[in-house]
């Protein structure tokens, strides 16, 4: 490789899989969310494939109404204790905990993460989010979700205090602890951190978000920016360039890795991969046809999308209600569905994923129109191992990503499929490590241990 850049891989662990019907797949464990043995096993699988980290997303609210559209968001083990159990079963892989500063205090965050870093011997990371769910506010004694500015002002002061606290803890020899006496806009914290300075100096920080404030926080303070889905490769590259340009203003463009989510639907052949994708979609439970559009469901977590021909009719601007889902869509209907830019983009997306087309021998079905309507959680690629590796290589080399957070559509089958089928191809192409170079997450990411007092 001529470039010094290195590809990074993370594993996004949602126990039900990242596909809404993933848990129903025959190779899925339906109640994996509370099965610590399985969570450890999946982490070991990722570690055998030399992944940088396993990633535990988190939410601070629930909504039973999500059972068909997003069951992963209903219930899960709390991430810190889960991460410690993962660390106990692994030796190299990093463990990322999602923690929302909006509903915590900086000392607790600094302490729990530093503790995880100790328990894992230098493999902890913090995914700093300010909260996807307005409903979380009601679980923490508030009567409203703070607006973006308040959440990010609070998060920025938190990050500063947390790093100062990490620097305030005693070193391995028991010396060097000092008070910080922080008196800020939101927090009053004396320190020192009782659990000592983390083995990595500072725990690795990830940030996920879409707003301008989020990008700025990521560019200035995060080691990894975890990017949401973008509709086109061009937009993806723009996002990547934007983060790097912002980071450059802080002299950090080499230090911030951009890692989008990627859902690989992979099998030995293209046909099998498409069949797998179709099978997962066929397991989705559709909403009654007459219910249309998006609505905030009881409890307010997420925007519940109605999955049916009614919603598809709205998206494509053509009345599709009452049609046979399995049937191919007539050419003239598809032509009308593709007149809007949004409609055309989604039809192209269907073809990219299913290989079915608007005019070829294998035509787009009504079911395809339904399945493409929800806002995607991540970019999906369907194909054989070479095709999936091609996509990863293209994004990496085109400057759209420094690595990927792999979303397994179902657990554990999709994790094994990716690690056994795709990782060897990436390794053969010289794109991905065959062995870990070190033991800590910072070493995997080639980030030095920061000296004390360089928080920023």
């Amino acid at each position: 490789m001529s470039t010094e850049r290195e590809l990074h891989l993370g594993l996004m662990f949602w126990a039900t899989g990242t596909h809404a019907a993933g848990w129903r797949h025959p190779d899925a464990v339906a109640d994996a969310a509370y099965d610590i043995g399985l969570i450890q096993e999946v982490s070991r699988t990722a570690e055998r494939a030399k992944f940088d980290f396993v990633f535990l997303g988190d939410r601070l609210a629930t909504d039973p109404a999500l059972q068909h559209s997003n069951p992963a968001q209903i219930s899960r083990l709390e991430p810190y204790s889960t991460a410690a159990a993962i660390a106990a079963a692994t030796s190299h892989i990093g463990v990322v905990v999602t923690a929302n500063p909006t509903y915590s205090d900086p000392y607790s965050i600094a302490r729990l993460l530093a503790s995880l870093d100790r328990v894992s011997e230098g493999r902890a990371a913090w995914n700093l989010v300010t909260g996807a769910d307005a409903a979380a506010a009601f679980n923490f004694g508030r009567d409203a979700h703070w607006d973006t500015d308040k959440r990010y002002d609070w998060a920025e002061e938190t990050l500063q205090v947390v790093r100062d606290l990490w620097d305030s803890g005693a070193g391995p020899d028991g010396t060097g602890a000092r008070r910080i006496v922080h008196r800020g806009r939101y927090f009053s914290v004396d320190g020192p951190l009782d659990v000592g300075r983390p083995p990595q100096g500072h725990v690795v920080v990830l940030n996920a978000g879409t707003s301008d404030r989020s990008r700025e926080l990521g560019a200035r303070g995060a080691d990894i920016v975890f990017a949401g889905p973008q509709p086109t490769l061009l937009r993806r590259k723009e996002y990547y360039a934007d983060i790097k340009a912002r980071a450059a203003r802080y002299g950090r463009e080499q230090q911030v890795a951009v890692m989008p989510g990627l859902t690989p639907i992979v099998a030995a052949t293209t046909e099998e991969a498409v069949a797998l994708y179709d099978r997962l979609n066929a397991l989705l439970v559709l909403d009654p046809d007459q219910e249309v559009g998006e609505l905030v469901r009881a409890g307010g977590i997420g925007e519940g999308h109605r999955l049916n021909l009614g919603s598809a009719s709205k998206v494509f601007g053509v009345d599709l209600r009452g049609c046979d889902l399995a049937a191919e869509v007539p050419a003239e209907t598809l032509a009308r569905a593709g007149t809007s830019e949004e409609g055309a983009r989604r039809l192209a997306e269907i073809t990219r994923l299913t290989r079915r087309t608007v005019d070829g021998p294998c035509r787009i079905t009504y079911a395809d129109l339904v399945h493409i309507t929800p806002a995607p959680l991540s970019h999906t690629v369907v194909g054989n191992p070479e095709e999936v590796a091609d996509m990863i290589q293209e994004w990496f080399e085109e400057g759209a990503a420094d690595g990927f957070n792999i979303y397994p559509a179902y657990v554990p089958g999709a994790v094994t499929a990716f690690t056994e089928l795709v990782v060897p191809v990436l390794q053969r192409r010289g794109l991905y490590r065959k062995e870990y170079a070190g033991r800590t997450l910072r070493e995997h990411l080639r980030l030095p241990v920061p000296p004390r007092g360089t928080a920023g």
Binding site: I36, T62, S75, L77, A85, S108, V119, G169, R179
Partner: protein
């Protein structure tokens, strides 16, 4: 419940010494395995979010407990946590998660005492841990029980054939609005295996103690009021043993540790194994307490107690030395609690009918 004719066993909790909690994981795990092999009911992991300068304390208890949970099979794991420094929703999840990770062996010791150094680490807009500490703790404990109950047993169906992931009829919004705390719920976690992880609380804190499963007290001498408060619930006294094969050697250990004296907080026991065991048996026979949390000045002291004192207790028929149940509740003789929200809803429905 044991019932029948079996001699009532002494309940034993080991308060893990800081040197073990802060040391290498392998040594901690070995010590936990030894305690488990001896049939000790539970390990108690203290947690204090503050440090005197120039000392690094052990990692946060919840993380260490989680590591121990996946390295042991039978022993209970109790973490200390102060309501003053936690949001109820967050702590409810942590303790419930530990209960899942340990397959029903989790407990929570409610820490209520004042701690100015810890307070000084946790002040934020709208929250001062010093203010209303006791009232918050009293409201906190039943609130956590309610949160654990927001999903009924059977609330998660996970039925692949039909696509039914949950049973929406078995999940409840809590809408708790109290003087100190407001939480809507439901919790984003399936009900813990024990229903409720075991709640331990100091008997000296009556409002909190009223809500606990197990009470703790300092020295078993002078535990009369605590005994009355505990009623039929288990009461654990606190002891610090200095034990060695001979009384002389035990005295020597005690002297080298600065000769700490018994006080309200704990009873200091100095003696050979038989003498120390007899003191414990006496307290339990008199009904002063049902068992003990044993504090150890060092990892060696823990090993000595296990190796020397427990055989005497077993020999006297006062300590089983084996687990009779899979859960901590079961081993402490506590029943799995019914779902409080379901009971309250049924009550409300009854009232509605009459």
């Amino acid at each position: 419940m044991t019932g029948g004719t079996a001699a009532p066993g002494i309940l034993l909790g080991y308060q893990l010494p800081e040197a073990l909690l802060g040391g290498p994981t392998a040594e901690l795990v070995t010590a936990a395995e030894r305690a488990e092999a001896a049939g000790v009911h539970l390990l108690l992991l203290g947690d204090r979010p503050a440090a005197p300068p120039d000392a690094a304390g052990p990692p946060a208890a919840i993380l260490t407990a989680s590591v121990l949970a996946v390295r042991t099979r039978r022993i209970g794991l109790v973490v200390g946590a102060a309501p003053a420094y936690h949001e109820p929703y967050n702590l409810a999840r942590m303790v419930a998660s530990l209960d899942h990770i340990s397959a029903g062996r989790a407990g929570w010791l409610v820490v209520t005492g004042p701690d100015p150094a810890a307070d000084a680490n946790h002040r934020r807009e709208g929250a001062d841990p010093e203010v209303g500490r006791q009232a918050r703790a009293a409201e906190f404990v039943p609130l956590l029980r309610d949160l654990w109950d927001t999903w009924e047993d059977g609330g998660f169906v996970h039925e692949k054939e039909t696509g039914r992931f949950i049973d929406p009829a078995r999940v409840h919004v809590l809408d708790h609005v109290g003087p100190a705390l407001q939480v809507r719920g439901p919790l984003n976690l399936i009900r813990p295996p024990q229903g409720h992880p075991v709640v331990l609380a100091p008997a000296a804190e009556p409002l909190v103690a009223a809500e606990a499963d197990v009470l703790t007290v300092g020295s078993p001498d002078g535990a009369r009021a605590a005994r009355a408060a505990a009623g039929s619930r288990p009461l654990l006294g606190t002891v610090t043993p200095f034990v060695a094969p001979s009384e002389e050697a035990a005295r020597d250990l005690h002297a080298r540790a600065g000769a700490p004296a018994s006080d309200q907080e704990h009873a200091v026991l100095v003696g050979d194994p038989g003498a120390v065991a007899q003191r414990l048996v006496d307290w339990v026979e008199r009904g002063a307490v049902d068992g003990f949390t044993v504090r150890f000045p060092s990892p060696d002291a823990m090993a000595a107690f296990t190796g020397l004192v427990l055989p005497h207790l077993r020999g006297a028929g006062r300590f089983r030395g084996a687990y009779r149940a899979a859960t901590l509740r079961g081993n402490l003789g506590l029943a799995r609690p019914a779902n409080r929200l379901v009971e309250r809803l049924a009550l409300a429905a009854d009232r509605g009918r009459s």
